[in-house]
Structure formats: structure tokens, C-alpha cells
Symmetry: D2
Subunit: 311 residues, 4 copies
């Protein structure tokens, strides 16, 4: 079985969870979506993340969905499963189920009431033990969504205290200096090397790669942008990475609207044939005709620009 480790690189796509128009889990779309992501360069998948509508699934649906994804992926790339939650007992149960289903690791964001460095460190020590030391975990650092700020010094302690903490999903904002500080802590031997994948819809991906990120773990209707930027950066062609990024930026910016972002992303994925329906489970946002008009306009402009670049 594939286990996530500190060397993970590339683009882990935060997968949406497809539903039918009537709100049922859409497993045929799930198959298409997996292929869509892999064809566009995903080197990993992350399911049951915030953008995967995890809290809107029942326990049995979550398991069904994850098992289906893992079966379809069939070992081609690692699959990480979100396991955040208020209690350690259900988190431990979920983590066990996910790992048994073949997940490569789990991802855990902090509960929103945590504040001090010690509170954070203690919480992740409890997490690291509860899920079992042989279950690798991703520390999700996403203050805009969790209201929790995790300072560099706390991350250093969490990583050093928990051998199964192998990756940071970095979406502090602003956070470029945080990547630099963590890489420096590694360079000075103060912290074990971990994988750092950038979030925030890829809106700072070229700069994050420049600071030492190993790739991205986030979502976007055009995941090939992230794969392309990563490939160009890795090939040493920073300008090409920026050119590609800039071509997608107007739409990426539009998709990054809090609250509305998932509706936009699912609209684009449905438009591209990756899923059958753009349905979101309640509670959730709905696009207006004006929203859709703006998205279509941005896609049209994006396609023109990409054609121009490829001439």
C-alpha cells in the first residue's frame, strides 16, 4: 500500500464530490472525474476536503465515495482523505476506515477554538496518537477557513513531535514568508524535512514554488494550470511558469471567491464534462445568470490567451 511521506511532490487535486441533480452521490461521475484529474497531471488526489463537501456526507456516503475513488485510482497516485473533526474518537475511526480502504494518509485541520502555540501542539500530539503512528497525516493550515493561525514555531514543534506528520497543506494568507521560514528551519536542522504543498486555489503558486513549496494541494476548474506551472518551474523555466499562471489567473481569481468558489468550480467541471451535474448539497451557494455570464466570458478570454501563447 502506498503511504504518504515527506517526499511527496507535484499536484494533489482537492477533488470535488459529484452529486446528481437530485443530490445523490454520483459514482459514474466520480469515475470520469478521477480520469479527468489524472489526465491533467494530478500526482495525487485529496478527497473529503472542505471543498469536497465532506460535512454534507453521511458517514456511510463518505466511506462509499472514498472507496470508489481509491478503487478507480487503482494505485496510480496516492489518495489523501480529510479527517478533520471536533472529537478524536470519530476522527480515529474515520482514519482507520480510510486507511483500510487504501488511503495514503489523512488530512486534519485544527478546530476553530485553538489559539496558543501550546494548544496547537497538544492538539496535534493527540491527533497524531489517536489516528495511529502508522497513519501519515497532513497538517492543514488554513486560517481564513478555520480562524486558527498556526505560527512557524508551532509547526516546527508539531513536525518534530509527530513522526507521522509528513506534509503541510499551506494556505495561510499571506504565507510566502512562512514557507521560507519552514525551509530555513529545515536547513538549520531545527525541523525534519516535510512536504509543503500550496493551497489557496493556486493563486500564489509561482511564488510559493519559488519559496520552496513542493507543489500544490488545492482545486481549480483547470487543474492543468497547476500541473503546467509546476512542470515549468521544475524544469527551471520560471518565466514560462508565470506566463501560464497569468493566462489562468483571471478565472482562478474569480473562482477563489469565498462561499461561491465551489459553485464556480463545479460549474466549470460540469461544463468540461468531468462531472454530470454542478449540483451542490445544501447548505450551499447557487450561481446567478450574471455569475455564469461572467464565467463564460472569462473562459472565452482565457482560451484566446492560451491560443495566443501557443502560436
Amino acid at each position: 500500500m502506498m503511504r504518504l511521506n515527506e517526499q511527496a511532490r507535484g499536484v494533489f487535486i482537492i477533488a470535488v464530490t459529484p452529486f446528481t441533480d437530485s443530490g445523490e452521490l454520483d459514482l459514474p461521475s466520480t469515475d470520469r472525474l478521477v480520469e479527468f484529474y489524472l489526465e491533467r497531471g494530478a500526482t495525487g488526489l485529496t478527497v473529503l476536503g472542505m471543498m469536497g463537501e465532506a460535512p454534507k456526507l453521511t458517514a456511510s456516503e463518505s466511506l462509499t465515495y472514498v472507496e470508489h475513488v481509491i478503487e478507480r485510482v487503482a494505485g496510480r497516485v496516492p489518495v489523501v482523505a480529510g479527517a478533520s473533526g471536533a472529537g478524536l474518537a470519530p476522527m480515529a475511526e474515520l482514519a482507520r476506515q480510510m486507511m483500510q480502504a487504501g488511503a495514503a494518509g489523512v488530512m486534519v485541520a485544527p478546530p476553530s477554538h485553538l489559539r496558543s502555540d501550546d494548544q496547537l501542539v497538544n492538539y496535534y500530539t493527540q491527533v497524531g496518537q489517536a489516528i495511529g503512528r502508522d497513519t501519515p497525516f497532513v497538517l492543514q493550515d488554513f486560517p481564513l477557513a478555520t480562524s486558527v493561525q498556526i505560527p512557524v514555531q508551532a509547526i516546527v514543534r508539531i513536525v518534530n513531535d509527530n513522526p507521522n506528520c509528513v506534509m503541510l497543506k499551506h494556505e495561510d494568507w499571506p504565507g510566502l514568508e512562512k514557507i521560507s521560514a519552514l525551509r530555513q528551519a529545515e536547513a538549520e536542522g531545527r525541523m525534519r524535512r516535510i512536504s509543503i504543498l500550496a493551497g489557496n486555489g493556486g493563486l500564489f503558486l509561482p511564488e510559493e514554488l519559488g519559496r520552496g513549496a513542493d507543489g500544490a494541494m488545492t482545486g481549480f476548474g483547470y487543474p492543468e494550470m497547476m500541473a503546467g506551472v509546476y512542470a515549468a518551474h521544475t524544469a527551471g523555466d520560471a518565466e514560462k511558469a508565470h506566463d501560464l499562471f497569468d493566462a489562468y489567473l483571471p478565472l482562478a481569481r474569480y473562482e477563489q471567491q469565498p462561499g461561491l468558489g465551489l459553485a464556480i468550480r463545479k460549474y466549470v467541471l460540469a461544463r468540461r464534462g468531468a462531472i454530470s451535474s454542478s449540483a451542490i448539497r445544501l447548505p450551499g451557494a447557487k450561481l446567478s445568470p450574471a455569475d455564469i455570464g461572467e464565467i463564460e466570458h472569462l473562459i472565452e478570454r482565457q482560451e484566446s490567451r492560451l491560443q495566443e501563447m501557443n502560436r
Copy 2:
């Protein structure tokens, strides 16, 4: 089957969930606890509330626990089950399971991101539909815990829009004027009559009853205080209600410390033999020897004062 309705009165105890020292569900203690609560005047029980460590139970544990409580209660009083959660699909499933197990209704607190009147009204309309119109629900109004303020005008609309909204668990703080305003809205025909039960550990119970509350839905290591205050108030003896309240107030105040309150409550319940262990599942607070010394001192003083009153 007993259904919760707008006429509910008395004291619905927010039940703790008993665990063994090693953190397993403690069903024998659950039996004792149910009898303990009923003997001390509970006219209803509420399980899987915030103080019931609901988010720390797995889905199957939740069901096991609620079924066990309902079986033990055996129809003597109604049992309400907490069903708050971020997604409507798992909430609907949980509500269905709880009602099938024999619950009298469910309780739903708002997710923490809701702000405007319209957002609140829309959310509870979705809730009222998702759980099914034949499932009565309690609107939990607890800003200190949820960060959501529900204005009187929004409650009026929620009640009027949802025939299955039959009760308000009132723990806004300060909130005495809110009870008065809701009772006035009823008197003026602007809102259907609902049951209003007071929360906040009973710390304002005499005043809340004076404003028109129908009783309490909250927890305390000495639930007989709430039952006694309610009985005296109902018998028209406000001074006796206050005298009794005052005797318990020093400990009630101490128990109301956020974060620490559940540990204090379970300590007291274990000390009184209602449960075997004061264990709390992680993450959770722990009492220090100094904390315990203070609790013991307060109990001793409380007992003296009660003896004095009864002389």
C-alpha cells in the same frame, strides 16, 4: 410515541455522556444517570448536546447511546436528541435515526458562519424541511458557543415559517429581554406560541421564569436546584425560588466556567454516584487538585446552607 410540542414545560436536563476511565461508552452508568435525573425532577432529557460530547462520539456510538437512554426512560419523559451539524444530509439521517429510536424531537444550533436575519431564516427553513415536518425541533440559541446571534425578529420568522419548530433553547446572554419580546410577539399574535426553556446552566433561572420561560433545558451537577426553583416559581412562591437558587448559586457559577464546566459537572455527578467515572473524551479539560479543592469547599458550604434553610 411521544412528540415534543409547544406546551413542553419543566426541566429538560442536558444529559452528560458517561465514559469509563478508559474512554469507552459506559452503559451501566447511563442507566444510573437516567434514574438520577428522573428522581431529581427531570421532566425531559436532552442527549447529544454540546455538553453531551456529541462530536466526540462515532456515529454508531451516538445511536447506541441514544437508544439505550430511550429504552431506559421507557416513555416516562420525552427525550430530545442533538442533531446540529454542518450538512443537511447527515443531519436528516441522524434525525431519522433518532426519531426511529423513539426520540421526541431534535435540537439544532446554527452553524457558526451565519450572520444576517435572512441567512438564519433560510437555514432553519432548510433544516425544517430536511428533517421532515413530522419531526419537531428545538432551536438552540447559544451565541457564546456558536458565535451566532439570532435576533427576536428572526426567531419570529423561523417559528412562523416552520410548524415543526416547537421550542427555543434560550441561552443568549444577556437574554432576559429576549424572552419578554418573544412572549410579547405571541401576545400580539405575531408569533405562534412556543415552549421556551432556559439554558446557561440555570444561572438566570429565577429571572427567566419571571419573564415567561416554561422551565429550563440545561445541565448542572445538582439538577434538583432547577426542578425546585421551577416548582416554587410555578407554585407562586418567587422568594422560595430565589432562596433555593441562591443556595446553589456559588457552585452553579463555578460550574459555568467555559471549557472547564463539563469536567466540573462530571466530577460532581461521579461524586454523587450518578456515574462511575468523571472521564471526558479528548480533547477536553482536566481538573487540577486545586480545582477539586474548590469544588469540595463549595459543596460543603452549599450543604450547610441547605441544612440551614431546611431548619
Copy 3:
């Protein structure tokens, strides 16, 4: 004297407050900055906003600075002054001082504890009276900074209740539908027409103009972007507006990082000669060499792209 009214249009720049390296108010730079903004198309200036470091100025410095700006502007464009604050008495005094100095109006954001529609409406009624009905005011709607969400229905009531509420500084996020809803409320006669200027660093300017915004009230190191986008939009050339916007977007996105944004903006303004020093008063962020490298790189790429566009 020029008074702000409901017909205001164009680009009101949120002016930075220039300091010397040692942290003193820099009045010579203030002169240069005013000219810089006007030359690049500002049709108004807003001083003492959040990005103007208003809370870091003493009362006398605030007055000195505003008087200096207004004197330099010499009636060429209207000047709006921020007057947000926890108490109405000091707000009223500040508003009076600013209007006496020649300001065209004041801007007021809600205090962070407001939640319900009624609380918001009551607060702004108190504000509208306290500053005097002959003092026009701008309602600043900026949830990311204030934690307060102002729903459309509350804005409608605030505008209708307060004749001196003449403008909305729109920076809810996402907020495009909000502009549409407000313009619809006007069209249906439910709300008086007001000026709506878009914020958020201009990151959604083309779409906001398309929804009916009258321009922008925000800051950016290259204010000519906003003026250019506005001009192209007004001339009916949406594609040109987008082309220009896209050319500046990579840097605009970078500057929009919370916490760090002002440091980036002042760096760019100092680099362009608009102010002498990029100094920020404490508490405030500092750019690292890596930050500066990224900014320089983005400026270089921006210049290439603009040259290409102008060929």
C-alpha cells in the same frame, strides 16, 4: 464647498499616509502623493481609511494630515475622510473637524460586534444623526476586515432611513450579486439611488462595473489601472477594460495579501517616487528581501506586458 452626493463616479483613491523613515508625518511627500494620484486619474481621494493607518495617528496628526491634503487638492476633487470608531461622540467631533477642514464627506465602517439587521440599521441611524444630517457619509461594507456582514436588506433600510448616506464602499467578498441586488432595489423603487464604489484593491473591478458599480474606491500601487479600466468600461469597451485589468492583475493579486498589502503598496509608491519612504508605523508588517524580489519581478513582467499591449 464640495459635498459628496449620490452621483459620485470614477476612482476615489484610498490614500496612504506618508511617513518619514523615522516615523514622522511626511507632508512634502503628501504633496507629491496628491499630485501622483490626480495625474493618474483619481476623481476623488479618501484619507484616514484602514489603509491610511488612521488608528496609528494621534488626533492632532489626523487633522494636520487631512487639512494638508485638502489644501493641496484645492478643490480639484472631493476628499472623503474616514471617521470609523467605537463611540459616537468622538466620531461626531472628528466628522465636524473634517467637514470644517473642507472634506466632502466621511466614511464609517461598522464596529465589529454588530450582527443582526436591526443592530446595523440602528447603529447607522445613530451615526447619521450624530455626524449631522448635512454631513454626507459613505457606508463601508468590508466584512473581511470588520467581521460584520451587512445584508442587502439592511443596506436598503440604512439608505432609506438616512438621507446623508450617499455612497456604499463595496468590499463584501464575494459581492457581485450584492451590487446587482442593490441596483435592482433601486430600479424597483425600494431604495434611493446611491453611488456604489468598489473596493478590495480593484481585484474584481471589471465585473463590479458590469454589475453597476460607479467606479472604485480602493488603493493600488498603480492607480492608473483603475482609472483606465473605468474609462474603457465607460467608453463601452469591455474587452479593453479586461485587457488592461489582466495586465495589472498579477501584481494587484500580490498586493492584496492581508496584513502585508500596505507594505507592498508603499514600497511600490516609494519606488515610483510618489512618496519618499515606504515606512509603516508600528504595529505593521515589513517586507523581506524575498518579498521585494517577487515584487520587482512582477513589475518587470507587468511593464513588458503593457509595452506589448501598446505596440
Copy 4:
């Protein structure tokens, strides 16, 4: 001139700011209020605190009020002035003015966006320098009002780094263990001895004194409660301290309602003749007839109980 130092003990009353019915500063009432507080056992006064409506005063009113209080006190007890604010420059100016007027020190609460230990430590280092090392300051630790949690470890660092940090206004909640932990840090030589005065309306005063607090710095309509509890505790009579505390607790609990507390306190002070009007400046809460009825009832019961105790 009297300077606040680490040995401060007793009861520092958080003074209200008296206004006339029409909202003007009421200096004659200020004189009466000062005498009222001193006669009831205040060993210090704190002005311009949160309950002193500081943000509702203009800069010149603040100065007038503080100067008037200090002149009236005439050196009988030290006077501490609140100086919290978003910017260091105006804080430094205010601190200078207050110290020149004869204040013994200033009090500073953290701005609400601070989160990590390092952010807190850095902020207070900036504060400690900005106000000048010869200006003693009180660290106000009040998470319920500021949303900022200051862990023990951060307080230890702040105290050790800033020789002018001489006192903690302790109103974390729950916070008894925090006092114990700080006193232990002192005992083990990890932290310089500081004065710790308890807040939260005195609602935990007996326990706080038992944990090592040096007294109280908070407000209540009956400040003699705090002085009496402190005196009994200091005299070694813990039971008498509790008896007195218990007699006042029903009203103290009622006064502690967030948002409404100041209106209750001013009502009681006006009723007792300490101030002429219970007026609060906008924005602020107003008591209803039902509120007043409850207060009067609680006062009546309190007086009976005190008489009974003194028989």
C-alpha cells in the same frame, strides 16, 4: 509621584465615567464618585477602562476627566489609566499625557487580531518601548472582550522582557489555573514577581485570592463587597470572605451580563447617590422596566441577607 509597581494590592475599582442625562461629562458626579469608591475601600482607581466608556470620549474629554479624577484623588490612592488602542503612536501620546497628569501607570489590552505567542510578545515589547520604560503598565488579559487568548508562557515572556510590565489584570475565563501557573513560574524563578488583580466583576474573587491574586481590579455597584472579601481573606478568614461574597453574588451575577452590565452598574451607582445620572453614551444598552424591577428585587434580597449576617 506615585508609580504603580509589582507590589500593588487590594481593590482597584474600574471607575465608570459619569455623564449628565444629556450626555455631557459630569464632573461634579466625578467628585462624588471618587469619594464613594474611596469610602468603600478602594486602594486604587482605574479610569478609561472598557467599562469607563473610553472609546466614547473625545481626546480632550479623556484628558479632562482623568485630570479631574487625579486632582480629586489627590494622591490618596494610585490612578491607572486605560491606554489601549490600535496604534502605538497615539497610545504613546495618551500615555505621556496621562503620566504627566499624575497617573500611576497605564493599562493596555491586546488588539483583537493577535494570535500566536510570538505576536503577543512582540506587540507588548513594542508597547513597553513606545510608552517609555519609566511608565509602568498593566497587561489586561480579557479574552471574552478582546478575542485574544494570552497563554501563561506568553505572559512569562512579556513580563521578563518588559521591566515596566508590573501588573496583570486577570480576567481570562476560566482562569484560576492561570493564576496558579503564574505564581508557580514566579516561585521557580522563571518569572519576575508581578501584581495580579482579578477582574470579571469579582465573580470568582474568593477563589482567585486563594490562588494567589493580590486583590481585584474590576467594577461592581457595591465595591464594598470586593474590599470586604479582600479584607477577610487577608485576615485569614476564608469562610467570612465567602459568606460576604455569597451575599452579593446574586446581584454581581446579574450585573455581569455582557452588553447590559454597564447600564446595571450605573443604575445602581445612581440609585446609591454616587453619580447623578445613569446615562450611557451611544452606542449603549438601556434598561427596561422589567430589568429595573429585577435589580430592585435583588437589592432588596441582598440587604435582607446582609442584615441577617450582621445580626
